[in-house]
Amino acid sequence: MRTGQKTKKKIKIGWFVFSCSGDNTIIMVETMNEYWQKWRKTYDFKYARVFRNNNILKDIDIAFVEGAIASERHKARLELIRKESKKLVAVGSCAITGLPAGQRNSFSLEQQETIDFLLKRFAALPRVLRVSDVVKVDEIIPGCPMKSEDFVKVLNKLTSQLDA
């Protein structure tokens, strides 16, 4: 790099996972097979437990949130993510619709009775929530799992907005 050349600041990415199968995480990681060299120059994965030990939840530019919200602890965490992030994207079916992670919401009374003690034991919410039930969502990437090209499209769109 030439002396004096202005270094562009990397965009800080957070990848957060709540109640789900983690399928969108796999698609994100597999999308990286094609884009990793470009992304290493453009993005700083500040928080992504799939990638690193030392995760920092502070001043995130784009937060991707996968999974449904199943407990008060999840809710508080999601609110903190929203507070610390410029943009928040709900990724995949569980985050956007609450399903299938929240299938217990529509269980019969009989099914509900068999699981009630477990919900109490682990302090789960009575009903599983969508991400948008808790915080404001800027973008969504639907799918179970999301499509790789949809992820790249939203990432590029938000990158352009932040660059501007």
Binding site: V17, D23, I26, P100, R104
Partner: protein, 429 residues
């Protein structure tokens, strides 16, 4: 020096899903280790009740993203066994290829993204130094191997995760000639990278030895879908008898239950498979491995990583051989004749033995079932090994060192917490 302390590793990183470890040490002895699944239950084995059986494989795939295609194949096997469906030879070949694609991608994800940073004292694979020859090479290798495995999954299973082509009775989509050609090229291209990966894990000096009982489905040719369950005591168990030999144990501190075999912890996964079946690997794979295979059988849990690297090579060689020699044609899935029945399917998922049971009514409605995943079976082994490992570091080692060594050990097991947190019908004590 007497040491008393408690350690709480609340967020284990670089594993599949969410887990924590709680450790209590008193007077230099580990009093307890709790390896906890902190994922919230999603109640799949409750939710399956009342669903038509045809949707079951896709539904249960949602237990876990990375293992989804294994859940699909296992659920298909359980339903086919319930309904006496015999899949065609081509279907079995395609299912083997689905496993090959998944194993290549999934093991590469584990080895490069989760484990290699520990070997190179890095926080993340993404922090590898491009100016260092070896690290630069490994960065490229990792993404190239995963891409080749993913491509194979896409053309054979229809998707990398939650594959849409495999169904009960056969397949509803087939790879095209051009795609097969592409897959062969991609797989052959990564072979040197896989051999480099094997070398890295063969040279790795991470070591933790202990005697345990290994368990794996063991076919006559190295693979993941056929055979009987073999235990380290030399006993062969028919898959339909699995639950007579493996006992569920309730863990009040975890969202998942655990399993024992004859009252003791046991270990499933690549290390168990390699210990039992290294002689069943293909000739080309064996030739390339040379003396590396003499490392097995092994009781070093870190050799699970080496066994996974070898399995990537096996799957690559197997897939290339099949794609070059077998003609794949469009074929209708075998029809089912509905009846009231129970079916059991067992396969070797990337992380070990996976069990699906389905109980069907005579109209094809699901009346119940059970899913037992590899991580539940390794749970007690993980806890026992953490306790033994930590005691080797006492009293001198710092808590930071102990935490790091605990994480390394857990990663060697390659647990999958998304799988472990599906719902099991349990009675709490």
């Amino acid at each position: 020096m007497h040491r008393d302390f408690d350690l709480n590793l609340t967020h284990l990183t670089k594993i599949e899903g969410a887990a924590s470890v709680e450790l209590r040490v008193r007077n230099n002895k580990v009093e307890h280790v709790y390896f906890k699944t902190t994922e919230y239950k999603r109640f799949f084995t409750q939710g399956m009740i009342g669903k038509p059986y045809v949707v079951l494989p896709q539904y249960l795939a949602r237990i876990c993203g990375t293992c989804s295609n294994a859940h699909i194949l296992c659920s298909i096997k359980a339903c086919e066994n319930a309904l006496d469906i015999i899949p065609s030879e081509q279907t079995m070949v395609l299912r083997d290829l689905v496993m090959d694609g998944m194993i290549i991608r999934d093991h590469a994800l584990h080895l490069y993204l989760f484990v290699l940073p520990d070997l190179f004292s890095k926080d993340s694979f993404l922090d590898f130094d491009d100016s260092d020859h070896l690290q630069h090479q490994l960065l490229h290798d990792g993404f190239d191997i995963k891409a080749a495995g993913s491509y194979l999954s896409e053309i054979v299973a229809g998707r990398i995760v939650h594959g849409v082509f495999p169904v009960i009775g056969g397949f509803v989509g087939f790879p095209k000639k051009q795609e097969i050609k592409q897959a062969i090229l991609k797989l052959e291209k990564i072979r040197p990278a896989v051999l480099r990966l094997i070398k890295v894990f063969e040279d790795c000096d991470f070591k933790f030895d202990r005697q345990t009982n290994f368990v794996a489905l063991t076919p006559s040719e190295y693979g993941f879908l056929r055979g009987k369950i073999l235990t380290g005591k030399g006993r062969y168990i028919e898959e339909k008898n699995f639950r007579d030999y493996f006992e569920k144990t309730i863990l009040p501190y975890s969202q998942a239950a655990a399993f024992k075999h004859e009252g003791s912890p046991y270990l499933v996964g690549a290390l168990a498979r390699m210990n039992f079946a290294k002689d069943n690997l293909g000739p080309e794979t064996k030739k390339s491995l040379g003396k590396t295979l003499s490392s097995f059988p092994s009781t070093n849990v870190f050799y699970n990583n080496l066994a996974q690297a070898i399995e990537i090579l096996h799957c690559l060689d197997h897939a290339v051989n099949v794609l070059k020699t077998v003609k794949i044609a469009d074929e209708k899935p075998v029809d089912a004749k509905l009846k009231q029945s129970t079916g059991i399917g067992i396969i070797e998922a990337p992380r070990g033995t996976l069990y699906h049971e389905v109980i069907l009514g005579n109209q094809g409605k699901v009346l119940g079932g059970e899913v037992v995943v590899p991580t539940q079976q390794n749970q007690l082994s993980i806890e026992r090994d953490i306790a033994a490992l930590v005691e080797t570091f006492l009293p001198q080692a710092s808590q930071e060192k102990i935490l790091f060594e605990m994480e390394k050990l857990v990663r060697a097991y390659d647990p999958c917490m998304s799988c472990a947190a599906h719902f099991l019908k349990v009675k709490w004590l």
